[in-house]
Amino acid sequence: MNYLEVFQLAAPEAALTLTVLLVLAVDLITLRGESIERRFQTGALVSIIGCLMAVIFTFTHYGRTDPLHGLLVVDPLANFLKLVLLILTIFTMLISVSEKFTEHVGEYLALVLLGTIGLMLLVSAEDLLMIFISLELASLSLYILTAFNKRNARSSEAALKYFLFGGMSAAFLLFGFSLLYGLSGSTHLPEIAGALKGRGLDPLLLVAIVTTVIGFGFKVAAVPFHLWAPDAYEGAPTPSAAFIASGSKVASFYILAKILTLGFAGAEGSAVWHGYVPGWTPVIAVVAALSMVLGNLTAIVQSSVKRLLAYSAIAHAGYMLLGVLANTPSSRSALLFYVITYALTVLGAFGVVTVVEEATGGDALANFAGLSRRAPGLSLCLLVFLLSLAGIPPLAGFIGKFFVFSAAAGANAGHLGLLWLVILAILMSAVSFYYYLQVLKQAYVLDAPENAPAIKVPPATMFALVLLAVLVVLLGIAPGLLLSHL
């Protein structure tokens, strides 16, 4: 195995890395005197072309290759997830092009791309060290992206909070990983599982499980490790928040499920009602239940739409954890279907918020009043995104929920042991309908303030939003399009 072969395997990531340099160079050398808008457009164009190159490279490998012993595993699923991450990045670029929050355009775009590279490496990793390094690459980019609005004190506050919490979670994760290495003598997930097999659940392993869950709990913003999320979502520039909520979620959930099901195979325990056995599933069950309840109930009282989306993201993390918990062959595809459609939907929702914020100066509920008159197309997109988040059929969010819930309920061959969690999830999802409807009520029922002008939506953003809305509808009507790849 020589470097050239490694380079070929990592072609998508390599292409993106070159794009990062190119974006920085183009912005620095040729666009110094131009307006921010123009710099954003050119930079985004270069980045999107880079992403499309990377997309092409993801199609070049078929079959599973693992030449570096878990450091870089390329298989069809990982490639598909990389494709999804790249598409999400492209959409993030499209909704950022009309932003004016920063003069450091090149750096901003470069950091989004660096974050994407981190996430792409993450989905290819089956080795604890590689997982940690790529997670940090992604996280550090996200911290800076959160702080990018220098004119807004809340942006810096949010970033500091996010960074401190994130740093702590990294410490927990590393501690858990070191215990795992100590227990098994390896950093390679399948080898760890092999070494742990038959060991039973000793206290050390339990500590490793708990710290790993804590570490990832921060990443996916699950209760009780969620405290950074509302502030980060609210304070961060909206496109950064969209990226945190979409791309980073997809990769984090994939890798969390991989570590738990692959690395901790044999230490599942059981979260069945009246059939509790210690292991990682009861831990996840508790975190999932707390996230669903707290996220949904807190979202009800929010008046800022970005905070509302943050709490709803916490609730959705709870539903997704059910998919992790089910731990059957079909539950993994259910989980990924849910996470991917959620990412597309939430990206769209943040895209709409970006436009409204730009036009009305805020993201409070009242700023959405009369949106259906001021921007009918935008408002229709918002309707699709929020109804999908609420789980109204035939949108993708509903099908995702049905997949995940039925996978969790059917996890142990008809015994319905996890049904208590499914019931909780379904009832909480009924609660969530209320707050999504609050936003839609502003847009469709209430009238805009007197003489409010029509809202102009930048064409690139509108293009991205319509495409996302179409995808959300299409994946609801024909989920097979996505499901067949997972």
Partner: protein
């Protein structure tokens, strides 16, 4: 042909969305044509149906093979009855909302989306597909009420939306559980209603899952004590909204109870039969009693819907052929009559007088000012009381005959409900139209706008429908009864004792 009822409605929605904002008149006409086309498709499809006793597949293609869901539309006699009802109610509702001036095209777009969803529920024989259409109706209902309604519209709309959503989520819990158990038992995943209806679910499972699904659907059917959305929702809704709510949306709930909850869990029904009958009778008497003391004209009709839907639920609880066919007939009959009553109250009276308070209406002598409205209300009223010759009579009689065999006491008590029903209708007729109170100081000086042509057509259409079915109930019973009697039908286990 029948499937086109769904497609036509949604095509209508798309066409309306593309219209320019100002084209109110075009929007009305397009909506009316769409509804008529849907109604014609419903009738034509129903007449062409070769054998109403059997489930005739319209289209069946795999949708999500991984979980066994298919796009499966089909119809048997019971579906036909309700599809035809939906067609009639849809056309009538548009005729009675001809005067909508505010955001006309959006109003009709939501309206047709609701209708399309309702057709879809009645024609789906895949449980997931049925659920999809069922939930699809919630959003248009919410916006129709919140945007175009009256009295406390946002409250009424939110209450209705949340009740529907909670109800459908109870159903979802039951469906997922049933899907898991059926998969474990038969070895393959399916959501086909016919296949699931052949699965014998364990008795302990049916014992808890049946009430969950039944109540989930029953909420929308006005099952006491979960009926409280109905009066507020009906009152808050615009005329066409209340017509559809009472006319077809409440039927969605009752249809779900019958087609999903009872067919899938026949032993569960038997375990809970008495409780359902008790709730139904309480609903009949409570609804009628509450209707008797209302000060608001529209609340009278709102509560009367709860009472009449009680008969549907009582009919379902009898578990014999005559009771069940009475229940289905009552769904049709109440859909027509309640639609008409709401049309009189909401469109003919309230849109002209801008009040629904009996105290004000008493002084207006509407019987003289709006003779057509008065006569229509009297006709609809006697139909609602169950006078022979109108559809309500045949339907409620069958329900009572069915109930007499199983619950004699409950039958007598619901007879009491019928008597109160006569009382509240007479009271409403007297107070609203034929009061002697004479013009008070708040007397109306400006003449009321005369009853328009669309209103007259709509009223005549609905009265005629109720009369035709009242005089020739065989028209519908020939569709309903073969479904119930056939030993091969999905209802056979329900009616013949099943495994208990």
């Amino acid at each position: 042909m029948l499937a086109w009822t769904i497609y036509i409605s949604f095509i209508g929605v798309l066409v309306l969305m593309l219209l320019p904002r100002e084209a109110a008149r075009a929007a009305r006409i397009i909506a009316l044509l769409t509804a008529i086309a849907g109604c014609v498709a419903a009738f034509a499809g129903a007449v062409q149906q070769p054998n109403p006793g059997e489930v005739t597949t319209i289209v069946k293609i795999p949708w999500i093979p991984a979980i066994g869901a298919s796009y499966y539309l089909a119809a048997d006699g019971i579906s036909l009855v309700l599809v035809v009802l939906t067609g009639l109610a849809a056309v009538a509702g548009i005729l009675f909302s001809w005067n909508i001036e505010k955001r006309t095209k959006e109003f009709f777009a939501f309206y047709l989306a609701l209708i399309g969803g309702v057709y879809g529920v009645f024609l789906s024989f895949d449980v997931l597909l049925l659920f999809v259409f069922y939930e699809l109706t919630i959003i248009p209902k919410y916006f129709l009420i919140a945007r175009w309604g009256s009295t406390r519209k946002e409250y009424g709309a939110m209450k209705l939306a949340l009740y529907s959503f909670v109800g459908s989520h109870l159903v979802l819990i039951g469906l997922i559980a049933a899907w898991v158990v059926a998969r474990a038992q038969t070895g393959h995943a399916t959501l086909d209603l016919m296949a699931l209806s052949r699965v014998s679910f364990p008795l302990g499972f049916q014992h808890w899952v049946f009430p969950l699904v039944f109540v989930g659907f029953g909420i929308l059917a006005g099952l006491w004590p979960f009926h409280t959305w109905a009066p507020t929702g009906h009152v808050a809704a615009p005329t066409a909204g209340s017509m559809l709510l009472a006319g077809v949306v409440m039927k969605l709930g009752a249809y779900g109870c019958l087609r999903v909850a009872m067919v899938l869990f026949p032993d569960g029904v038997r375990m809970w039969q008495n409780e359902i009958a008790a709730l139904a009778v309480i609903g009949i008497i409570y609804g009628a009693g509450a209707a008797l003391v209302q000060k608001d004209f529209k609340f009278v009709i709102g509560y009367s819907s709860v009472s009449h839907m009680g008969f549907v639920l009582l009919g379902l609880a009898t578990l014999n052929t005559i009771g069940l066919s009475g229940a289905v007939l009552q769904m049709f009959s109440h859909g027509i009559i309640a639609g008409l009553l709401f049309a009189v109250v909401g469109r003919m009276v309230y849109d002209r007088t801008h009040t629904r308070d009996f105290k004000d209406l008493q002084t207006m002598q509407l019987g003289r000012l709006l003779p057509f409205a008065g006569v229509t209300f009297v006709l609809a009223g006697v139909a609602s009381m169950g006078l022979p010759g109108f559809s309500g009579f045949v339907a409620e009689l069958q329900v009572l005959m069915g109930a007499w065999k199983v619950f004699p006491v409950a039958t007598i008590l619901s007879g009491l409900g019928i008597i109160i029903g006569v009382a509240y209708i007479l009271r409403a007729v007297q107070k609203a139209f034929y009061s002697d109170a004479g013009p008070g100081e708040s007397g109306h000086d400006h003449p009321l706008e005369p009853i328009s042509v669309p209103e007259r057509i709509g009223a005549v259409m609905l009265i005629a429908a109720s009369l035709v079915i009242g005089l020739f109930p065989g028209l519908l019973l020939n569709w309903i009864q073969p479904c119930l009697n056939s030993p091969l039908s999905m209802f056979a286990r329900l009616l013949n004792g099943g495994g208990l």
